[in-house]
Amino acid sequence: MAKVELVNVSKRYGEVEVVRNIDLEIEDNEFIVLVGPSGCGKSTVLRMIAGLEPISGGDIRIGERVVNNVSPKSRNVAMVFQNYALYPHMTVRENMGFSLKMSKKSKSEIDERVTAAAEVLELDTLLERKPSELSGGQRQRVAMGRAIVRKPDVFLFDEPLSNLDAQLRTQMRMELKKLHMKLATTTIYVTHDQIEAMTLANRIVILKDGFIQQVGTPVEVFEKPANVFVAQFIGNPPMNILKGIFKTEEGRPVVQVGSSVFPLPNGQGSSLQSGAQVLVGIRPDAIKMGRSTERLPKEWLCQGEVIVSEILGGQSLLEIVIDGENKLIAEVEGRVIAQPGETVPIGFEFDRMVLFDPETTNALS
């Protein structure tokens, strides 16, 4: 159990800088999820923390110790790889006990700890098998078992569930969460999967091109994205972004979008001049239709023309055009069956609306 601290860490391969001046403080027992598009440097950050990749600048601290020049085996971190990286010639038992054997633990202690870990992961009956005789989910468990027998200070996961089918992934995700609660160990977890990020993380770190875009709790990054990239990267479907002009109307701040006027009930954009260009972000689930519009104030309602509607079980996805020009994706409760071309009343939760600067694409307070 330990804090992990990255101070101004960077990584260059020759001329190419793939991780740029990252500052990140990870609390003891925290579950941190790194997300970002492919090639943004997530695995590189993880490998630098593990010591598998030397860092080009800055400091990495695990616990109180600067580990820049500490070898991987002395950092006491354990890593779970996407393709599991099990030793194919060893049995499950030997795979899980390998690190203990390398650290010259006694045979009885290895046995005891492997058995205990196998019980936690329900691998007891598979201990004498080789990895080639296991299913994907079981291999995944063995990889986790190999990590937990060591009682490391930090767990590192690099897309551990992405080789599993959807159902198994959901199940393993829950088990991971339980495991983290039981073991209470600092965890850094890389994933492509939004849901994994939202459900597992204490805090999410969004990376792009080697830069940190935002660090925050799942709700924070969802509701208060730091910039347009985060707004569109987090959430599925992504946040709607419309062009608008900031104004003050009858003493109250509003945004003119097309011919509609959106109120700003939370005082968003208070720092802006009247007439300033802004980008308006609205989450698809902040758009309401049908009965759930009744709870909204009158001035938060308007009319929209339905282009397409899709029913996803309990919810529906609709593509809507307002004012004949601005296209929006809405994710609404219930099964809304609307004919294309039909015009229906819709409502906005304007208090959840976010404004961005069109130049820098950063969020405006």
């Binding site: 490998r47 593990a50 598998l52 070898s71 991987p72 085996k73 971190v77 354990a78 890593m79 790889f81 996407q82 393709n83 990286a85 099990l86 030793y87 194919p88 010639h89 390998f98 690190s99 054997k101 390398m102 650290s103 190999r146 060591r150």
Partner: protein, 373 residues
Amino acid sequence: MREVSRDRIKAFLTLLPSIILIAVFVYGFIGNTVWISMTDWGGVASLAENPQKNFVGLQNYVELFTGFLDARFRQDLVNAVYYSVLLLAGAVGLGMFIAILLDRKPRGEDFLRTVFLYPMSLSFIVTGTIWRWLLAPQGGVNIVPTFFGGEKLTFQWLSSKQALLLFNWQHLLPVLLYVVAFVLIIIGLFTLKGDTPKALKRYLLPGLGLGACVWLFGDLLPQIYFMEEMHGFNLATLGIILATIWQYSGYTMALYLAGFNGISQDLMDAARLDGASDWGYYRHVAIPMLKPITISAVIILSHISLKMFDLIFAMTGPDNAETGHPALNMYLTTFRANEFSKGAAIAIVLFLLAAMFIVPYLVSSYRQRRARS
């Protein structure tokens, strides 16, 4: 169903020509050689138009192993055993060692790889000639120390008459049993750490028991020969072994290097995180993972060493008794002495020796395949 059987017929017809050819020219001729080895074809009239061939059973084999005139064959056989064992140990060990060094990605790895692989492409005659010069008593390797101000070596690489580990052929049976006991004990010691009860029960205790029995009661075993006849490891074969190792370690290096390169980065990283040192990674992960490669190398090298002919011919000629080899002996017996039946018997002995290496491998891989399906 009909489709399947038609497919099968097609497959069978396609394979038929090669099945027939192999049946005749490989297995048929092996059978013919076995038959000839059990006749008395040879001697004065052996080249007559219709030579006499009378069935004599195993007499040729009995003569080879216990006949007064065939002492040279017995030394050749002992040579072949040492030759195979040392070649295997040398070429596999050295090849693995170079592969590990190159796997550390030193500068110029590509170039070095080619350099080490290059001897493979030479013919044995060329290798033999080069090494004959290098190992000449008055030059080559022997004068290397003089470059550093040392004394000239005087070792007779190819014609030394010294021999180590001499044993009396009369006592072949107890010696073989000692070897078996020794191997069992070694295996037992190696597995002792991993699986103690099994190591004790399967290897260590039987090995010790067998050794003790032979020691106590070995005198009761029959002597297979009527007089004392000493055989051992002829030091003159060292030069030939060196040359063969030189030629083949590049090949085993290439096999291992390809294997090492095929191990994923993640697996290496996992081993490093698990606390394996560089050496630990090779010792516990990489080399055990490449067991199939080791097995293929052993099989290929062992049958090459049992068939070795041209290299020895080029290095010491066919008549140097110290460096003889059963394959050379077979050639001399068959085509110079015209003892066709005895030559065939030598061929069959070599064939059986090679089978000793290959059959266990085939059986185990067949079993594995069955277990998997």
